[in-house]
Amino acid sequence: MSPSFPLLRLPGVVLSDVFKSLDIEEKFKLSLCSKRISTQINNARLYSQNVIVDLCGLYQKIEVSSENNKDTFYILNFYECGARNNPDIHQYRIEERTVPVFSSGIGITLFWKNLREGFLFVLRYLLKIFQCKFSIKNICNTYLFENTISELLDLQLEFKKLSICFNLLKNQHLLWNQVSNKLGLVEDLEILSGSGFRPVFTSWPQEISITGSDWFTLEYLLECTCTTISLGGSLLENKDLDETLRKWKTGGFPNLKCLKINSQSIETTGTTILGMRLLELSGKVIQTDDGSKKATIDIGNGRIEMYVTSF
């Protein structure tokens, strides 16, 4: 059979199957071939792979990986300076703009006159090809994406992982005001706040991890609906843990699967928890009063961990 093939003569359903057979980088490259191809890929988006788009460095590096992490490719954004004269660089259409593109072993490099604008065009383009969840894994990158985070949440886009370091932000209140009521869109929220800023929660992500959580009070903990709660540098005491575990036993924290608290105020000689001294709890399996769930407790120095399993 001829090495060329009139792809667009195939029915949409078949095309969608062909797209599914390609890996995510091949699909991205194919989408650049023509507007009609990218429209077809866009039409098949709902049947496409789910991808995680990790924003690695300020506008310049985007890591796109399949949800099972089997497949990864990078999109690199650079300023356009003489890019059009390089014979290895070809022009393709991205979001109605003609963009010089260079493919290499390390990824796909795009050249833009305005890097920030180009970066946003790439994100929009990716959203048309794949079902995307975003991710900012490196907590040091928060300040780079201060505006982008709220823009993406405003578009109701989901975050697989969102790391926020309040210490690095110029306007902590502004970002938190924009983010705090959209935490339902965030799967895993990681917070570092050691600068005196106290975030107020109006909604909860699925998982939360707070480093420097001295401001995260018992009241917050009792309200928290996350499946995983991890608190580092906490000030919670034995009596707070007692109240927390009693609430869980009576049916509270219905989503909870894992609770980890590191606190200097957790003391072996302190108040009893569920009627037991702290060390007595170590390795204990406790049950909810209705018997529907059990949890294993692990105790360490200034640390308590609880892992829940259903019967």
Partner: protein, 203 residues
């Protein structure tokens, strides 16, 4: 039309776009979800009309179905490297036109295994290639070629417009001097030139 043998030997008559009929076993036909949905329970009194597809295509599709009757149940797409020698021969002996016809028929008949193998085969043509190479495979003009083509067209249109304007100018000068029949002649010429210009612009 079915023969009254045991269920595994039941034969159905299939009618192609040429009006020709041929036999296909019930076991092979049952790989088509379209057939299952339309005829399996109610049966067919006469030939089953798959008249959007020609005989050669339908025979090729059902050749595949007959072959895979005894294979294990389909469990999702297979990698091309896992295809048997028979499968590879089956695909290799098709020319491109037949391959496209087979995909279309398989898609209509909803034969998952065959459609999936066909898609995998197309994906393989694109695998490991960059965009420029993909454009060549899927026979599309490149952005540069499109840009060059557009420039040529713009040039053509501009040149045609110039000619038309000049002709119209000349015709206007003549118009004032000539008698009515000549004016009509000029008008005809102008109309012709305008049409020519428009046809250039639309090319």
């Amino acid at each position: 039309m079915t023969s009254p043998a045991s269920s595994s030997e039941v034969k159905y008559l299939i009618e192609s776009s040429e009006g020709n009929t041929f036999d296909v076993s019930g076991a092979a036909l049952r790989q088509s979800n379209t057939f299952n949905a339309m005829f399996l329970n109610i049966g067919a009194d006469g030939p089953i009309p798959f008249t959007d597809y020609n005989e050669a295509t339908l025979k090729k599709v059902f050749e595949y179905c007959e072959h895979s009757v005894n294979e294990e149940n389909y469990s999702g797409p297979k990698h091309q490297d896992d295809l048997s020698k028979w499968d590879l021969n089956f695909f290799n002996e098709m020319d491109q036109k037949m391959f496209i016809d087979v995909i279309n028929a398989s898609n209509f008949l909803d034969i998952e295994r065959l459609t999936s193998y066909c898609c995998e085969r197309i994906a393989r043509m694109l695998r490991g290639k960059n965009t420029q190479e993909m454009i060549k495979v899927i026979t599309l003009p490149t952005a540069e070629e499109l840009e060059a083509k557009q420039k040529v067209e713009e040039k053509k249109a501009a040149a045609a417009k110039k000619v038309a304007e000049k002709a119209a100018e000349t015709a206007e000068k003549t118009e004032t001097l000539e008698e009515l029949p000549v004016q009509q002649l000029v008008q005809t010429t102008r109309n012709k030139l305008t049409r020519k210009y428009l046809s250039f612009s639309n090319e």
